[in-house]
Symmetry: C2
Subunit: 149 residues, 2 copies
Amino acid sequence: MDRASAIQQRERAFAEALKADGLRMTHQRLEVIRELARATHHPGADDIHRAVRERVPTISLDTVYRTLAALAARGLIERIAAPGAARFDPNVSGHHHFVCMRCGRVEDLDAGDVAPVAVPPEAARLGTVTFVRVEMTGLCNDCAAGGPH
Amino acid sequence: MDRASAIQQRERAFAEALKADGLRMTHQRLEVIRELARATHHPGADDIHRAVRERVPTISLDTVYRTLAALAARGLIERIAAPGAARFDPNVSGHHHFVCMRCGRVEDLDAGDVAPVAVPPEAARLGTVTFVRVEMTGLCNDCAAGGPH
DNA sequence: GTTACTGCAAACTTTTTGCACGACA
DNA sequence: TGTCGTGCAAAAAGTTTGCAGTAAC
């Protein structure tokens, strides 16, 4: 499957899941969904707002937040607590993250590239582990090259 | 080394590092450092403020934030972006986290309990990886037992 | 006696919420 | 047409900053 159709499929999946729950498919929601579906990095609410505003100039940041909350509540996207502002990850399937400690950008690492991590009994004693994510923190190439300070 | 002397050693290490940089050892800073050194969970700025206030009733939340920032800037503690408010991890040595998706509490998992994770070439291509942390997300026992909603 | 640190207050940022109007089904 | 969703504005919550007085060295 090529990238374009993968995006379209994800877009449709998001829309269907909301419709199935009786949510109305408004112009604004559709554009937020479209923006998320095509995202490769991990946009913040403000990034999405800025991008969607080019096509729907009147959309408010509140609506973006509400749509993101609706998707996150259904497990269709994941909210990542990042320094400064939360970021949203439209790719829920198992994968890992490279986080730049300077600029906060989050890049995906394919799960296949990282050896699987077993849940130790010490963790099971604390509670139920739903998923395991490896976070590799460091300096991205842009920042190492002396990006914006 | 028992727990009490480990705490004292950490406390001294924090204080020495700040003094070495020419920062003054005020009553307030010392108490914030003391609180961090003895912390086993991962307190937020407000937790520390509340705890220190019992001994220094006039300390302000600003001062707590400033001390935490000074320590974090020197790599003596780590700031963890958590949902709601940032938390601070006084244990910089390699270890992993169990994060409760409901209440946001963060528990340590000893590095020895989790198989080491190798940095794949895909990550090295994005930048320089400084450290690797495994995050096990799930529901802690308290929340599973129907804790505060 | 300097200089840095503190506390206060206010500013700022991110996110949430109440309300009246407008749009989807 | 009825209800849900939107935009606006204001409110919360967390964090940072400017300033004048205070304390460390």
